[in-house]
Amino acid sequence: MSAIDICGVSKSYGTTPILHEVTLAIGAGEFVVLVGPSGCGKSTLLRMIAGLEEVSAGEIRIGGTLVNDLPPKARDIAMVFQSYALYPHMSVADNMAYSLRLRRTAKQDIETAINAAADKLGLGAVLERKPKALSGGQRQRVAMGRAIVRRPTAFLFDEPLSNLDARLREHMRAEIKKLHREIGATSIYVTHDQIEAMTLADRIVAMNGGQVQQVGSPLELYDRPANLFVAGFIGSPAMNLFPALFGRRGGEPAIEHAGFTLPLGHDVTLAEGAALTVGIRPEHIALGAGSVQGVVDLVEPTGLGTIVHLTLRDIALKAFSLARPSLMIGASVAVDLPARNLHLFGSDGARVER
């Protein structure tokens, strides 16, 4: 049995639809990340699971119990907010004890739970401080601590790292992952940051426009994006996408774009002349060999590798290379787009299987 079952859930404010028939089963102990651009409905879905938003249609079950009409307190979930939402007039210890006191947990047990959480999160020295005397990273930890002392059925995270600077975010990301390994509780994590999604998730739910676009493991989404949205959203630098036509050259399947033709090497179920979008990840573009000539527009060294901006006829492409190619801006370079790395999307945006 799954820990959280979302079945045909929709949400609309008045006549404005926010979520459209989302169905999702989350297994016990699973770490699921909802990812998508702002306004895609991911936070709304999370708040519906928490009981902070009403469900317009469909069913949400937690641990088998239908919770559509249950208040948040009856759902046995903990949530970490983007703004942390620490109680400003209470000390760190009181913040973490709040939920336990409401449950009339014995004083002794509260203390044990708080100390255990403080140890885990490195908050031992600041237990008596008020939130305003803490750094951003410490506040974030207190918010986490408040969630873990309760041992809830599920953790909900609403963009918990987006208020931190880049370095701290990376650090806390790893901590959250470690914490999840230790505690093993079901977690649903909302973010707009695809790197966070990739690194944290057991499964990613990519959302756009109130609809689920694809559900799968991080590498599944990366290697086989189900549609144009996922292809463009997952990965940084983003996948190159350009329009082309499906055709045959000498009977062999190929894609054609004004001025060049790329043999596919295998057949696909497309009519000749069908319009499609071709995608290729920057790291799959090979420079210095290949059939097409491109012009170098810009070279961005990142240290780890180099991002090269190219123009191929009328297409702007980004190539990523771990080598450090010495390329002059404006120079011509041979470009190889290997057929096995091409992603094809039909005119409806869906992936064309091959």
């Binding site: 208040p71 948040p72 307190k73 979930i77 903990a78 400003p88 305003k132 309760r150």
Partner: protein, 276 residues
């Protein structure tokens, strides 16, 4: 840096002029209150009398009805402050946190009530209260003041609730609290400054209200002190010394009240609640 010096000296000069202008009536009040009767008209206009005495204060406290008026004022203003703060707090919370049908209409209606000149309402109010036995009654005044101040207090309290992030209640409710529990344990302690400010504002408004106190309560037994002050104006003379002494005494509760709540007025309690 002569221009900088000039800037700051004119800066402070302007502030000094303003403070003088604002505080002069208060100074004059105290000055007249401590001037003995025999010097009041004989010394001409001077900044400070050649001899001071507390005789007016003694008379006002011992031989006039002023202590009674003072007590009445305390009851009326205190009662109004408490009831308005309760109503304004509840209403402000509702407006801040919930959306419901007719909310814009309700807000507009509340705004409209603030647009009437109060004089217009004296006669209807009297007709309304008289059959209910609420004229010449402190309760009647509390009801009237509460009705007049509640809309403004509601808007004021709404702005204080708006300043507290919604996530705090949501976090409390997820932590296992009910909405009311979250309000009581989380929101209420954080709105104390707002409650104090609202209470203080309403208290002073009721404390100095004259029109309705005069029109609705004619018996001395139910008069508040602004009405009582008029008792020092007789047909043939005005007893300025006693009147000013009574005025000085009337300032005390308001001063004490603001002294008590001023730490709430300046404290930013929500610091650190969210990212900062």
């Amino acid at each position: 840096m002569p221009s900088r010096t000039l800037y700051w000296s004119s800066h402070y000069l302007l502030i000094a002029v303003y403070v003088l202008f604002a505080l002069f009536p208060l100074f004059w009040l105290i000055k007249v209150a401590v001037t003995p009767n025999d010097l009041l008209y004989s010394e001409g206009i001077r900044l400070w009398p050649s001899r001071t005495s507390l005789e007016h204060f003694r008379f006002v406290l011992a031989h006039s009805d002023f202590p009674l008026f003072f007590r009445n004022s305390l009851i009326v203003s205190g009662g109004t402050a408490v009831s308005v703060t309760l109503i304004g707090g509840a209403g402000g919370y509702g407006l801040s946190r919930f959306s419901f049908h007719g909310k814009p209409f309700l807000v507009a209606l509340m705004l409209i009530t603030q647009m009437f000149p109060l004089v217009m309402l004296v006669a209807p109010m009297f007709r309304l209260l008289a059959p209910l036995g609420l004229t010449n009654s402190l309760t009647g005044l509390v009801i009237v003041y509460t009705a007049f101040n509640a809309p403004f207090a509601t808007f004021l309290m709404q702005s204080f609730f708006d300043a507290i992030p919604k996530e705090l209640e949501e976090a409390a409710m997820i932590d296992g609290d009910t909405r009311f529990g979250a309000f009581r344990r989380i929101i209420l302690p954080l709105t104390l400054p707002g409650i104090a400010a609202t209470g203080g504002f309403v208290f002073t408004a009721a404390w100095s209200e004259l029109l309705f106190a005069l029109m609705l309560n004619s018996s001395p037994q139910a008069s508040t002190f602004p009405v009582g002050l008029l008792a020092f104006v007789s047909k043939f003379s005005v007893d300025f010394g006693q009147m000013m002494a009574a005025g000085v005494l009337a300032l005390i509760p308001a001063c004490l009240f603001f002294l008590a709540i001023q730490r709430y007025l300046v404290r930013g309690l929500t610091a650190g609640a969210v990212k900062g």
